[in-house]
């Protein structure tokens, strides 16, 4: 139709997708992991680790401006040549798949321990993968539209739940400020992985109708998500105190559980459930799509949809066997993931950008269609 903005992702939609992707599941866990290192200064750690997200967003969008019609799997091959490029492509396909197995497992674990302890974990993992497969199959354009509903709902629920805690918050719990700078840096490293999730832009840029807006979308997305996470961290610290937050598994869930306003409004954990399921769906679907697109491009397939089913099976299988319990996920994400994920989200894009600049490589006219199958038009 004449309305091109409705055919693909607008810059605003990409930004919203980035926000949901970073924020959705992270906000339930994050304060505990950061507080474990930074205590009452956890929110400063979150502030600091936003830098990682901003840098990643800048790297990816600068690469995206050089290769507007290509994903990182494709321009990796252009920059590094066939053999090394294939290795990089495989790294990304594996990365998107693996990070999704972790997210899916987290997703199931919270539902299991927080809401329905008698239901087997496999049920949660199986159902969310089926629904996310539908989302990934529908493509980024549809996901962005769904997210247009979901993100406002998430932010609204988050705002309401935090507002209800005002009567229990104790500002003094945030003091002393910046007690141990080393702790703040360690806390920032623990949360860096989540901000580097903005790397999904590397797979979404070809679907944008204005590729030049990618940088803005990425940076703003990181900032909005970052400040929301900071708000959660601040409230968790103010309500529980830095020491206690560190011992909670799901600090945000615990926050919603202790809400009590004059005995009228109590136990609003269904707000957390809403955020968790709606946001979790978007996040898992986005990474699912990225994994399917990356693997199909790596294999040289024309349609990303042909890999949706095998990717789903892989995610389900790996997410179940990989970890034994929630503590293993926490320790993986705060330590091992730093060495496993950050090189992929920060190191490799930086390397690719340097090489592309040195070799003067550019590609794509900016008018070619995005990933095949994603932008299927039904009518005129």
């Amino acid at each position: 139709m004449n309305n091109t903005s409705s055919v693909r992702l607008s810059g605003r939609q990409a930004m919203w997708l980035v926000v949901t992707t970073i924020l959705a599941t992270t906000l339930i866990f994050l304060p505990a992991w950061v507080a474990a290192e930074a205590k009452q200064d956890a929110w400063l750690s979150v502030l600091l680790s936003m830098v990682v997200g901003v840098v990643t967003a800048w790297l990816v969008s600068t690469l995206g401006r050089r290769f507007p019609d290509l994903t990182i799997v494709q321009y990796g091959e252009r920059i590094l040549g066939r053999v090394l490029g294939k290795v990089v492509g495989l790294v990304y396909a594996a990365f998107f798949l693996h990070i999704n197995t972790v997210i899916v497992r987290e997703f199931g674990e919270l539902l299991l321990t927080g809401f329905m302890p008698e239901t087997p974990l496999v049920v949660f993992i199986g159902t969310i993968i089926v629904v996310a497969a539908y989302g990934a199959w529908a493509g980024p354009e549809v996901l962005a539209r769904v997210n247009d509903f979901i993100l406002p709902v998430i932010l609204f629920l988050l705002g309401v739940s935090l507002f209800l805690l005002v009567n229990q918050a104790n500002l003094a719990a945030l003091l002393p400020l910046a007690e141990e700078p080393a702790g703040i840096v360690r806390g920032a490293l623990a949360s860096a992985v989540f901000f580097s999730e903005v790397i999904i832009l590397a797979m979404l840029i070809p679907s944008l109708n204005l590729r030049s807006e990618a940088a803005r979308a990425g940076v703003l997305g990181v900032l909005v998500a970052g400040f929301s996470l900071m708000a959660v961290t601040v409230f968790a610290t103010m309500v529980f105190g830095g020491e206690r937050v560190a011992n909670l598994t799901f600090p945000y869930l615990a926050l919603t559980r202790i809400v009590s306003v004059r005995g009228v409004v109590e136990r609003v954990e269904f707000l957390a459930l809403g955020i968790w399921v709606l946001g979790g769906f978007v996040k898992i679907s986005v990474f699912y799509y990225a994994a399917a697109l990356a693997s199909s491009q790596w294999l040289g397939l024309r349609e990303y949809r042909s890999t949706v089913v095998p990717i789903g099976l892989a995610i389900g299988f790996l997410s179940v066997i990989q970890f034994e319990n929630i503590d293993q996920i926490s320790s993986f994400l705060t330590t091992a993931a730093l060495f496993a994920y950050l090189p992929v989200t920060l190191g490799l894009p930086a390397l690719l950008l340097i090489l592309a600049t040195l070799r003067g490589l550019k590609g794509g006219s900016g008018t070619a269609p995005g990933p095949r199958g994603a932008d299927k038009e039904v009518s005129p």
């Binding site: 004449n2 409705s6 539209r145 769904v146 269904f270 459930l273 769906f281 005129p380």
Partner: protein
Amino acid sequence: MKLLQASNLYLNLAFGLTSNLKNAISRYPVPDELHFLPGEKDPVVLSQDLDVNVQRLQAVLGNSSDLVVRRFTVGPGSVGIRCALAFIDGMVERESIRTSLLNPLIIETQKTGFTKGLNRQNAFDRIWNTAVLIGEIKEDRTLQDVLRTLLAGNTSLLVDGSDRAISANTKGFEVRPVGEPMIETVVRGPREGFTEAIRVNTALLRRRLQDPNLRLERFQVGRRTQTGVTIAYLQGVANPKVVEEVRRRVRRIDIDGALESSYIEELINDTPHSIFATVGRTERPDTLVAKLLEGRVGIFVDGTPFVLTVPHLFIEELQSPEDYYTNPIYSSLIRLIRLVAFFTAVFLPSFWVAVTTFHPEFFPTPFLLTIAAGREGVSFPTAVEALLMGLIFEGLREAGIRLPRPVGQAISIVGALIIGTAAVDAGLVTAPMVIVVAAAGIATFLMPTIDVGFVTTLLRLPTLFLGATLGLYGILLVGVVIMVHLASLRSFGVPYLSPLAPLSVPETKDVLVRTPLWSRPLRPRVIGYKEPRRQKDNTLPHPPRKVGNRRGEKTGRDGSP
């Protein structure tokens, strides 16, 4: 949905069902073109001999009892030209045949000098020019044309010695008078609704839209019913691509009959597998005018008061024409209530089941105790209760519609008794469940269009199932799946959920709320109009401004000079 289709395809392939089905259907070949006359592929030209033509007509129609052929002679007996008037009884207006055809042809021609020099060669032209007192006439040259003339309710005048026939518009069958719309009722607003006659309907539209740019294009659908289908749009406002796409899709239809606009809807819509309607329908001329003014295309179908409109967005399903005739603040409130009602209708019973079964801790303790006390003596699980009550409710509703009116009264009495206290007293269901199901039912009745009411009923079942098995998580999952499905739909190129998703804040002025007319100088952009402007800026009404108005002292309070 696409996943479902794909899996269906794989299943079918696995069992070879598709190929079998295809073979079974393809045994019956599709005729290349419409054989209006059985056995005659090409047009049959008329004969110069009147008797041959009349015999052929009667033979083709099988001497049908409602075919009337009136033979007469124009001019004095010896030199007179033999003619025949043919029409289908009941389809024509007898009075106009008598006064505008028979009278001038038989009587007036005797009085004037009409018969002077009349012969077989010039008879047709003379009659055409001076003896047929009917506004709309045309010339038929083939037997097929004559048949179409007759079957449409027109009169055919055959003249001996000429291989042409005059087709005169004498349509005059019984039609229902223009009455009040049955479904889209309003408290304030026009009371006229469309009828079954397409010409009456287009006239109702024209009368409200006296714009030379209003285009009406006629198509014929239905090999046997020859149903008239008319596309209406405003040239220069509607998107030409959409208009062309509507034309293309209507021409593509090849079916033996189209009895209602739903036939057309099913054959042209974008989402043949979805329960959501992506083609709108209205029985109100004022609504149709509003849609055309926004750049939509209307599709009239002969024989039904329901006119289709495309592109159709989800949000239109939750809007009533009344919204535009009442105070904007009030109608905004009503729209929000409707939105809440939509979610209530779909999710309330399953929400109740999920919370009582899986998350009782969400209820305050005293309330929980009351519920637990109420459940004593009820042996069914909550989900079965909900299913049972839902079934009874839907059954009563359907019975209320189908039953003849005098009997329908009895249904409501039985319903009130059963749904009321009896079911609770008998220990079949708990009292809160009655309230929940009734609330969901009432919420369904709040839906301004019937179709979205059906949608809520259909969605309630899977939601209930997942709510009963996976609790609130299951309900949220269903919600997500519905959202993805809705977000992937399009109606004639326009995303079905726009302007909400993709979100366009300036376009939401007339979506969940309705802002006053003066605040919306532009057409809604999502429809893909051509001409954006619908009124001047600054049309906010206000009393005359004294300052800077030199004629201020002459101006009255009401603004009149």
